[in-house]
Amino acid sequence: MIKVTNLTKDFKIHTREEGLLGAVKSLFSSKYTLKRAVDTVSFTIGQGEIVGYIGPNGAGKSTTIKMLVGILVPTSGSVEVNGLKPYEDRIQNARNMGVVFGQRTQLWWDIPVSESLNLMKFMYKIPEKQFKHNMELFSDILGIDQFMQTPVRQLSLGQKMRADLCAALLHNPGILYLDEPTIGLDVVVKEKIREFIKEVNNTRKTTVILTTHDITDIEKLCSRVIVIDQGRVMYDGNLDNLKTQYGSVETIKLDFAGSITGTSELRTLGIDQYVIEGNTAIMTYDKRQVNSSKIIGWFMERTEVKDFVVSETEVEEVIRRIYQQAADTNDRSNRR
């Protein structure tokens, strides 16, 4: 469905020297540096998948999305969406996709939401019946009817986002691109939007590609994540694998009765770090080396265990680690 091969995008950045003199100089000579925003990215996405496309700021997420939707022209490599090249067949490609940019609206600023949505009907040639059906369905889930007659410029961010989502899906597109759809929204609206996306994906088998910084978005929606940093794919696979690959560290907090001796033995079990304060032990370990039941067993042999909590690494932590690792390798290669 979506096939991206060795996709690369360079931007020219004009360098201007500081100060007035620099400004004058730049009038006569324009120096620029090339910045590679997307670097030989390849992936394939099948129909009905929800893929989280994540990475730190400036990683190249939005640039990739913009090449997928046909706004930007790749420097090299290729993009194919349903057999079309989005840049060359921009209009045809646009008919089968819905796009929501979290930071801007695609609705008309000065006219009421209802008229903007009505325009969508003509723009995508949506049959009257389908339009009506979708409008009813969406206004139900997204609660749009409360602000249907308000001009877009007077809507709150959350309302605008809901209206935009509705506009992006009225024509039953095969692919939905969401570029930070939950940015700046409150928890309730975020939740509503996630449910809606999930619903659409379930009932229509709509492919969803989503960039976000919100880890909950990923945990609740994505079956697969692609992590990108400095334009390169760092990880592509399902979320659970990501967790085991990068998030194999667990922490266990255990309360016991009485006193305990020979805690140095814990090291031989495979526990990296432990702190014992009074009757509480906090231990971190790699779960590929040792599992929690073995540790608890060890304590139970020696004393009475009153309570314990095992906490897995949060996805957020996992991603932070991938970014960190990428930064480290970069440092190393730079030093070389």
Binding site: V73, Y87, V99, Q103, R104, D110, I111, F122, M123
Partner: protein, 266 residues
């Protein structure tokens, strides 16, 4: 087709949201028109008729010239450069490009919608005032027909020029200066302010190789019946030729520009 009708209708509705703007513009257009008329009266200095390189021109004709010129300005004027400049500077163009529409067609429909509004609330009131206070002679229907054909072609020409400047925004973000430049060139070479018949021959020669006079001078000369039917036909042909030339330029700029596109602001 329905889409483009709806887009025009939308633009019309949006214009309605800025009524105060319209009133102010009408006031300044009225002032401008009367200043022009007053200047010509002063220049004629009570003589009623003066010689030019296209024969005698009466004050009456010059007054009508100024009125029609003011009217044409409202008819052709658009804000494509500002719109395009804003779209490119803020990155808003991204939201246009994700839609299955042709940007130029959408902009043209927007202009048409605004035009309907401006005709109703600016052009008609202005011409009404001119008819009441100064008087506008009306030529025969054949002349009027030719006038309207050249007028519409002129509007398309001006649209293309502004759209081309808009496309230059792909390379150069501050296109406002270029619009200013276009307006200055237009004021000089189109005959919007001073008719070409008062020009030195060198300037007439220059302007005859350029499309600008086809926007103002051509329709007004036809209206004033300074041009025969045959000549008018030739000028319409020239207009069509220029429309094609500018269209080709647009195509080339679009193709090259879209590769240059950077979406500002993420």
């Amino acid at each position: 087709m329905r889409l483009y009708y709806e887009l025009a209708k939308n633009a019309l509705q949006m214009s309605m949201a800025y009524r105060f703007n319209t009133c102010l513009q009408l006031v300044s257009q009225t002032i401008n028109m009367f200043i022009l008329i007053t200047i010509w009266r002063a220049l004629y200095n009570g003589t009623g008729v003066t010689a030019s390189n296209m024969g005698a021109i009466t004050l009456q004709e010059m007054t009508t010239y100024s009125i029609i010129s003011s009217g044409i300005y409202i008819f052709i004027n658009n804000d494509i450069v500002i719109t395009m400049g804003q779209k490119l500077k803020t990155g808003e163009i991204a939201t246009d490009l994700i839609k299955p529409i042709n940007l130029k067609a959408a902009l043209f429909c927007k202009t048409l919608g605004e035009k309907v509004y401006q005709i109703l609330f600016q052009l008609i009131p202005l011409m009404g005032m001119a008819a009441i206070f100064v008087g506008i002679p009306v030529p025969g229907w054949q002349t009027l027909l030719l006038f309207f054909i050249t007028l519409i072609n002129g509007m398309i020409l001006y649209f293309s020029m502004t759209y081309i400047i808009g496309l230059i925004g792909f390379w150069y973000l501050s296109i406002w200066h270029l619009r200013q430049f276009l307006d200055d060139v237009l004021r000089l070479l189109s005959g919007s302010f001073i008719p070409l018949w008062f020009f030195p021959t060198a300037l007439i020669d220059v302007s005859s190789f350029l499309p600008f006079r086809l926007i103002f001078f051509t329709p007004i000369s036809i209206y004033l019946e300074k041009i025969s039917g045959m000549e008018a036909g030739g000028l319409i042909l020239q207009q069509l030729l220029w429309i094609i030339v500018l269209w080709v330029v647009e195509k080339i700029l679009w193709r090259k520009g879209i590769r240059k596109l950077v979406i500002q602001g993420g």
